[in-house]
């Protein structure tokens, strides 16, 4: 059957883009076009999307190492988030304030991330092939275990412990005098004095760009290439003398550490720390974002992270304002749930390339 050249070209691009990405991208474009019609300011929308991107991008980046090494989607990201929370709360407990508390939060969370990631990686090495289900439950059980710990660890700092009893941490506390906005305010572009509601958190975006660049560079080193080899064909990797278990462990630790840093970046943008069961809600947005960006269960790149986070956060921020203004009902939250989880289901049903 002969096909004209342009049709083949079109099919190639459709395949390369992936239908979900096209549909969501198109939907977002329609929303952007309709936004002024509903009376919402385009620059406000843009600000929202960019800000939410800057909060979430690092968490989404944390998906990449584990996907690369063939461990599948990191449903165990709450483990990294917990390391980050421990780092953040301990840094505050030690009395650090301002930008220093952010640096210390990352420093303190690192050993926890290595410890948690090491244990988690060792476990995942024992159960190759069934990582995702176990990862989900490792995440859930560690979060519920830490729920007990937040009450038991003897924190003392008055601005983070429960107001009346002084025992146990609060559900949520503000970071105003600690690391709220430390990255976002660095070189911030704020056009509000000119009457345009446009704020770009340059520092956060630069920080993400730095991490993304380091990740890209790492994936092109010898170890990084080995990681990709392990992910695409473990038998071949083993035959060429790569220590598969060690590489997988490294990828899990990296993922966990990025999760820890990611949640700290999220908190500095959001301005609050959420404890107890909150880390459970960090998994799905990150997983869905990287999948919407065009990643699959065993393939992900930095561009997937960037595109996915923009599309997903665009969906999160644009749908409420535009759809609510159009039909006067708040179905946006439901649409978001269906789209993001539908994406994950779709990704799981696709055949994966390479041997498992």
């Amino acid at each position: 059957m002969e096909q004209p050249a342009y049709a083949i070209g079109l099919q190639y691009w459709l395949k390369k883009m992936g239908y979900p990405r096209l549909i969501i991208g198109g939907f977002l474009l329609v929303l952007f076009i309709m936004a002024p019609l509903t009376g919402s300011d385009l620059t406000t929308q843009f600000t929202n999307v960019v800000n939410r991107f800057s909060w979430n991008a690092v968490l989404v980046l944390a998906m990449v190492p584990m996907i690369h090494s063939g461990c599948g989607l990191n449903f165990g990201i709450p483990l990294g988030v917990l390391a980050g929370l421990l780092g953040g709360t301990l840094a505050i407990e030690m009395g650090f304030t301002g930008p220093m508390s952010f640096v210390m939060a990352i420093v303190v969370s690192t050993p926890f991330a290595i410890l948690f990631g090491g244990g988690y990686g060792a476990l995942l090495n024992k159960i190759k092939g069934g990582e995702m289900m176990v990862a989900t439950y490792v995440g859930l059980s560690s979060v519920s275990f830490m729920c007990i710990m937040w009450l038991v660890i003897p924190y003392k700092h008055p601005s983070i412990v429960m107001a009346y009893t002084g025992v146990g941490l609060r559900n949520m506390f503000a970071l105003d005098s600690f690391y709220a906005g430390v990255l976002a305010d660095f070189l911030k572009i704020d056009l509000n004095p000119l009457g345009i509601n446009l704020v770009i958190p340059t520092g956060s975006i630069l920080f993400f760009a730095l991490l993304a660049f380091l990740m890209w560079a790492f994936l092109h080193t010898k170890t990084g290439t080995a990681m990709t080899a392990v992910g695409s064909n473990p038998t071949f990797a083993k035959a060429s003398g790569i220590n598969v278990d060690r590489i997988r462990m490294l990828s899990v630790i990296l993922s966990t550490w990025l999760g820890a840093v990611g949640v700290l970046v999220y908190q500095q943008g959001f301005g609050f720390v959420q404890l107890y069961t909150a880390p459970m809600n960090m998994t799905m947005p990150a997983v869905a974002a990287v999948l919407i960006g065009g990643a699959s269960v065993n393939k992900a790149s930095i561009s997937n992270v960037v595109i996915g986070t923009i599309l997903f956060q665009g969906l999160v921020t644009m749908t409420p304002t535009v759809i609510t203004a159009l039909i006067h009902t708040d179905v946006s939250e439901v649409i978001r749930i269906i789209v993001s989880n539908g994406m994950v289901v779709y990704a799981l049903t696709r055949k994966t390339e390479g041997a498992k």
């Binding site: 289900m133 439950y137 859930l140 519920s144 439901v334 269906i338 989880n341 289901v345």
Partner: protein
């Protein structure tokens, strides 16, 4: 050649680790909780009556080798939608329950069919897919119940609708249906209320499962569960068999949720189903089941142990630490922990079996036992 299995203490310990752990937790916590035996027994019998049906719905997919059916929540949602309609039509008592069950069947079949088809596309990843289906179909459920009911789907009574005119209120009241099954025949020997009708329904389902295992379809499912390739070679339609097992499970889960909710007397429209899957699966695993093997005995033992822990843990938590939340978190942690442990053990076992198979084959080849 069949060798008689000798009793091996270590193997026994390994295979029954979780139930033994739970017995120890319960024995430690019970005196601390300071509950009268009558009260505890009453609670456990009540919970057995309302939970066992739900947990039994997990057995058939395990038989078909599809693991723990995290997608059972889909059936629970179907049951809830049926209950919303029945409440709106104000059909009360046992006719209401029966009608709700009948109404839930087409919905459950549809959802089960969808879930089964997707699981066939993701062989080897059924559990994580079922788990994600909860969230995905949960979104669809919200769309239907919160936005379409009352605006597109007719809802007659304002008491069921949200004040804005469409969508269902956050709590659906089943007062006139409350415990109608439990109370129909309820003798109270020694102050312990026994919901006989519930147990009769459960017994019927148990008999059905035992009978079903012996039918052609049941045998096919076991064959598929053992080895899909061999089953296919034997002429079994593997995909169809797997879909049927999920549909049966979903339908039973819908019935189970209706029985469960009529006992409680009301339900939170948007959250009642979310924990169903987790608690049922945890209870089944506590009873000594694993991902590939579960029996009716596991279900009963699991319900008793899991719910004893559930009742005593918060009170024991208060007694030990003085903080009610710690016991509360502890039981959630234990539920998740048990599932994690079972999943890890299953995966390790699967890998070991695989590598053993490989080693045996290699040895056989070395000895020239396998002809090329």
């Amino acid at each position: 050649m069949k060798m008689k299995k000798s009793f091996n203490g270590f193997d026994f310990l390994q295979n029954n680790l979780v139930p033994l752990m739970f017995i120890i937790i319960c024995v430690i916590c019970y005196p601390l909780a300071d509950l009268s035996p009558g009260h505890l027994l009453n609670e456990i019998v009540n919970r057995m009556g309302r939970n066992i049906f739900l947990i039994l719905s997990l057995l058939i997919p395990i038989m078909a080798g599809m693991g723990l059916n995290f997608g059972m929540t889909l059936g629970a949602m179907a049951g809830q939608i049926a209950l919303i309609f029945v409440t709106d039509w104000q059909i009360w008592g046992i006719p209401g329950v029966v009608l709700a069950m009948l109404l839930s069947i087409p919905l459950s079949v549809l959802l089960g069919l969808m879930c089964g088809k997707l699981m066939n596309m993701a062989k080897g990843r059924e559990m994580i897919l079922g788990y994600m289906m909860n969230y995905f179909v949960g979104g669809l459920y919200q769309l239907v119940v919160l936005f379409l009911m009352g605006s597109v789907i007719p809802i007659i009574h304002a008491s069921v609708r949200l004040p804005r005119g469409f969508g269902i209120r956050t709590t659906v009241n089943l007062t006139s249906m409350r415990q109608c099954l439990d109370n129909l025949i309820a003798p109270r020997p020694y102050g312990v209320k026994i919901p006989v009708l519930n147990f009769i329904i459960i017994a019927v389902l148990c008999l059905f499962i035992i009978w079903f295992r012996r039918t052609k379809l049941g045998q096919d499912m076991r064959a598929v569960g053992q080895d899909m390739e061999v089953a296919r070679a034997a002429g079994i339609n593997v995909d169809r068999t797997r879909i049927i097992s999920i549909i049966i499970s979903t339908v039973f889960a819908g019935f189970g949720q209706i029985i469960y909710l009529q006992n409680l007397g009301n339900f939170a429209t948007y959250t009642a189903h979310t924990q169903t899957g987790m608690f049922c699966i945890a209870a089944l695993l506590v009873g000594g089941a694993s991902v590939e093997k579960a029996s009716i005995g596991n279900v009963f033992l699991g319900v008793i142990l899991f719910h004893t822990m559930f009742i005593v843990a918060p009170r024991a938590g208060i007694a030990i630490t003085g903080d009610a939340m710690i016991g509360e978190y502890f039981r959630v942690f234990v539920s998740y922990g048990v599932i994690t442990l079972a999943l890890v053990m299953y995966e390790i076992k699967k890998r070991r079996a695989k590598s053993q198979g490989g080693a045996l084959l290699a040895q056989a080849q070395k000895e020239g036992g396998v002809q090329a």
